[in-house]
């Protein structure tokens, strides 16, 4: 095993980790603001992928070009889902909330399979393809662009939360719903916003993935388990926590796979997950 292989693997781990982070950020935000675990989050990713695919297949528009449009569509979809469904279960028992988002997951997968068939699709001939050599290591151009895109979107979300009034209102609602309401913040509006941003983040991850990952109705399942681990590791509700935890999970997964054997790669991640649950249940960056 050479230094080159280690470095190469590390780089691949960081790049896929950035995608995990982007998926997890939406998930952690929805949870942070309203304490609802969204099992249908992987389906936002799937919808983002299909949106890119169809814009590419029907109008020959590159996924990167349509990224803003897709993100807007997912934002609207997230808000709509909140207004139509989630709003009704805000004060319902946790079990009902779980069943609702779990049901949404099955529904969205079913609809996708019905409308677009269970076939695997992919985007061929996107602007980004091939690979580049950087300091002796080979990086796939789509993966590199996806990683950079994930950093940009995360930075944008972070900026929004920390530097804008609306973002501050969202954070305030997350910290204390009643107190924020007393300050004149409309909590339903904030919840809708959280769902919109959450869906948009997953959608963005979907778009960035679409240039190199096959697209099919169940694709969300591949990512959602890792996203939950990331959210947990970073601390429920913490956006920066999810960002670093995403990278960490990506790196641990590939390095664990390389050093211990690929058949253990998921096991390594899940052992880490269990360890965090046992010794630091609030997550690495979460508030107790």
């Amino acid at each position: 095993m050479t230094a080159e292989i280690l470095l190469q693997t590390l780089a691949s781990g960081v790049l896929i980790g950035l995608i995990y982070a982007l998926v997890a950020i939406g998930l952690t935000m929805i949870f942070g603001v309203m304490d609802i675990v969204n099992f249908a989050h992987g389906e936002f990713l799937m919808l983002g992928m299909y949106a890119s695919f169809w814009l590419f297949a029907l109008f020959a528009l590159d996924p990167l070009l349509t990224l803003p449009l897709t993100v807007l569509m997912l934002f609207a979809f997230g808000m709509l889902l909140y207004k139509l469904v989630i709003r009704r279960i805000i004060d319902a028992p946790m079990l009902s909330q779980i069943f609702t988002t779990f049901g949404l997951m099955i529904l969205l997968r079913g609809v996708a399979q019905f409308l677009w068939k269970p076939d695997f699709r992919s985007i061929e001939g996107s602007w980004v393809s091939g690979s580049v050599k950087l300091a002796g290591i080979q990086l796939g151009r789509p993966q590199l662009v996806a990683g950079l895109g994930a950093i940009a979107v995360t930075a944008l979300v972070h900026f929004f939360l920390t530097r804008t009034r609306l973002g501050a209102a969202l954070e305030a609602t997350a910290a204390d719903k009643e107190a924020a309401q007393l300050m004149g913040i409309d909590s339903h509006r904030m919840f809708a916003l959280a769902w919109g941003i959450g869906a948009a983040c997953a959608g963005a991850a979907g778009v960035l993935l679409a240039t190199f990952f096959p697209i099919f109705p169940e694709v969300g399942a591949n990512f959602i388990l890792l996203a939950f681990v990331v959210v947990n590791l970073g601390g429920f509700g913490s956006v920066t926590g999810a960002f670093w935890a995403g990278i960490l999970v990506g790196v641990i997964e590939v390095m664990g796979g390389l050093l211990l054997g690929p058949q253990y790669k998921t096991a390594v991640v899940l052992v880490l997950f269990l360890a965090v649950l046992m010794f630091r249940p609030q997550g690495l960056m979460g508030k107790a």
């Binding site: 990952f213 591949n222 690929p262 790669k265």
Partner: protein
């Protein structure tokens, strides 16, 4: 009496076992038609395959009953039913198992006890074939399985079960036969082998068999990698392979992971001399469409290919008949199912009877030759376990965006391209 039906069927089963005869046997009289029960997934997740198989069976029955005069080499092409049964016609009785082993068993029982079929054909899904054939075994009715590939099906010591298709183990043996023959032909030595398989039952069984066969056949196995099929990335797997530096990778993957692995090979510059793939994802229509020229030169096993028609005119003639009806070509599945019914009809004809024991005996004595089949097999001949010993798979190589038969060499439409060019030397 709340549930009379199940109780009655238990009694019937008991009676049948006690007397050592098929229950329906005595009731079955010689008549102008032979009823054959067919069990396939006509609804449910595999419904599209089920529909395709139904079409193939109906074509076979139609040829037997009404003839296909232009195709002289095909058995029963003269039409007019089964000659030795005074021209009795074949009548197919369809049953839908929905991909569910329990439903498959119930339907098999219904076909035997109520429809009084002379024999059963089915059932595509290996797990449904397992349960449905168990019922047939219990009643003593011949069960012909044309297309389930799980090796364990013929390891059960059944007396009434016959399988025409080669099974998974045979396919792995084929890989090594191919390597041996290729080495002799091209006068070179294949280097170290690595296996790269997904980690469900199929991939694990394949891994085990490859690990056993490679040293037996004189090959060095340098690495065995298994991976979860629902992976988001295969970086560490491919790096592990790359570090082992094999000249040949034997791979079993479903579609999603097959695509992901090929992309990762290219990204990380992993260029073995050859990738020898185990069907599934590598023969899906999406594989070439998605990867384009990056799919080139991969060799994968198949059970059937349309280009075989250039070596065996029968294939083209029968395929033309199928195409005229359904605007689709035969596939590895439908061609095997078609062949299955033909083999059964041949046995019933030779038995000159619809008695289960007579049909079973005739099936066991089956000896069909390659030129009467649309499959790339050496023929059909069953061993004591009911497995056709003359079946074999073929290997196809992707060249110019098409699957070309490259092995067995006497059926090949193209020379093997070996080694495959390195990624950075491709146009």
């Amino acid at each position: 009496m709340p549930h009379p039906q199940p109780r009655r069927s238990v009694l019937q089963a008991l009676g049948a076992t006690l007397f050592g005869l098929g229950f329906g046997g005595a009731a079955r009289a010689q008549s102008a038609e032979v009823k054959i029960g067919v069990i396939y997934p006509l609804t449910g997740p595999a419904a599209s395959t089920g529909a395709e198989l139904k079409n193939a069976l109906e074509l076979a029955a139609d040829i037997i009953n009404n003839g296909a005069k232009a195709i002289a080499d095909l058995p029963f092409a003269a039409g007019g039913g089964l000659p030795k049964l005074k021209g009795a016609k074949i009548r197919l009785v369809f049953a839908d198992h929905q991909g569910n082993p329990q439903t498959g068993a119930t339907e098999a029982e219904r076909l035997i006890t109520q429809e009084k079929v002379a024999a059963l054909v089915g059932a595509y899904n290996s797990n449904v074939t397992a349960t449905a054939s168990q019922v047939a075994e219990r009643y003593g009715v011949p069960f012909l399985n044309p297309e389930s590939s799980s090796a364990s099906l013929t390891a059960r010591g059944f007396k009434w079960f016959f399988r025409t298709t080669p099974h998974d183990d045979l396919f792995v043996h084929n890989f090594f036969d191919f390597l041996k023959e290729l080495e002799a032909k091209k006068n070179f030595k294949v280097g170290a082998i690595a296996t790269f398989n997904e980690n469900t039952l199929w991939g694990n069984e394949t891994t085990k068999l490859q690990a056993k066969l490679a040293p037996e056949k004189g090959y060095q196995l340098v690495k065995q990698v298994t991976y979860p099929a629902k992976s988001t990335q295969l970086t560490s797997e491919v790096q592990t392979l790359k570090a082992a530096n094999p000249s040949l990778v034997m791979q079993s993957s479903y579609l999603g992971d097959a695509l992901l692995s090929m992309k990762t090979y290219k990204e990380l510059g992993f260029s073995p001399d050859m990738i020898l793939a185990n069907n599934a994802g590598f023969t899906d229509t999406e594989f070439i469409r998605t990867l384009g020229k990056d799919a080139e030169f991969v060799i994968t096993r198949e059970v059937w290919a349309l280009d075989l028609a250039t070596r065996n005119p029968l294939i083209k003639q029968v395929n033309d008949l199928f195409f005229a009806r359904h605007k689709a070509n035969f596939t590895g599945n439908s061609s095997r199912t078609f062949t299955g019914l033909m083999v059964l009809a041949d046995a019933i004809n030779r038995a000159a009877s619809t008695e289960p024991e007579a049909i079973r005996k005739a099936l066991a004595e089956t000896d069909l030759r390659a030129e009467n089949l649309i499959m790339p097999w050496k023929g059909v001949k069953f061993d004591a376990t009911g497995q056709n010993t003359l079946g074999r798979g073929i290997l196809v190589q992707i060249v110019d965006g098409k699957y070309n038969t490259v092995y067995p060499f006497n059926l090949a439409t193209r020379e093997v391209t070996w080694p495959m060019p390195k990624w950075d030397q491709r146009k």
